[in-house]
Symmetry: C3
Subunit: 109 residues, 3 copies
């Protein structure tokens, strides 16, 4: 058993959720916040059998898009804030950030 933790953009969350069901994967969804952009994203917890890791990664890759996001930095990356006029900057946000963790025991009551 493995626990797959996948952080995806909110825009892809429903499509990924349905694709996981169709492919026979069970999952739990969390509403989360990105550490850098401080905007909402979605984290999936997906418990899977050991031999289905590549398959679930394929489903995630096929359903999550890389996008450019216009961001207005809250303050300059360094230096003073007095005469700072924030300009929007384009940041590329990945389709999915995925961690696969080992599970020692699984129970379903």
């Amino acid at each position: 058993m493995k626990m797959v933790i996948a952080v995806v953009q909110d825009k892809d969350s429903n499509r990924l959720s349905n694709a996981l069901i169709t492919a026979g994967f069970r999952s739990t969804k969390l509403a989360t916040t990105g550490g850098f952009l401080k905007s909402g994203n979605t984290t999936f917890l997906i418990g899977i059998e050991d031999d289905r890791v590549s398959e679930v990664l394929q489903v995630i890759r096929n359903n999550c898009k890389v996008r450019d996001q216009l961001v207005t930095p809250v303050s300059p990356m360094g230096g003073t804030t007095d005469s700072y006029i924030p300009f929007p900057v384009e940041v590329q946000v990945g389709g999915a950030t995925v961690f696969v963790l080992p599970v020692e025991r699984f129970e379903h009551f």
Copy 2:
């Protein structure tokens, strides 16, 4: 140290939370969403000593009930949606889905 991740129904969340305190377990709760029914449920993160895994599983089993939930599927599992009239269907939802993950290091500041 182990990290127990337990997904339970909202209805059992308070009873389980109190039972964990009484049994001397510490925990953190997350409001989550089921991948299939897309309705709210609760996920517990419970960090425990290695030799208390069976005990915490017993507390979870004793405080989480299996229930039938009436669900109106959003669309047919396969096929077309034009003349589809959704009928409620009964789905059995487990008491708890539990994953036990190894922890390499624990710190409390």
Copy 3:
């Protein structure tokens, strides 16, 4: 790769978030609830390279404060509730509770 799960007080969440960015760590934030005080706190998921565990623990320790919190227990720890007049009690809440879990595979699409 390791997954660091850090439960911190809401008051320290923004300061820690910015300190992680400055130190070059990526993270995802979850709004969570303490099992005992049942009040809001913040859980960080921080995926890091194996050799940076001590460094991220240092950043967490430096940005999360231990505080005393006045709590009115919902009911007596034991015994009857009829003539119980709840008095506020001071509970010390740690700066951070941190678990380091092994990650077998990491992907970024």
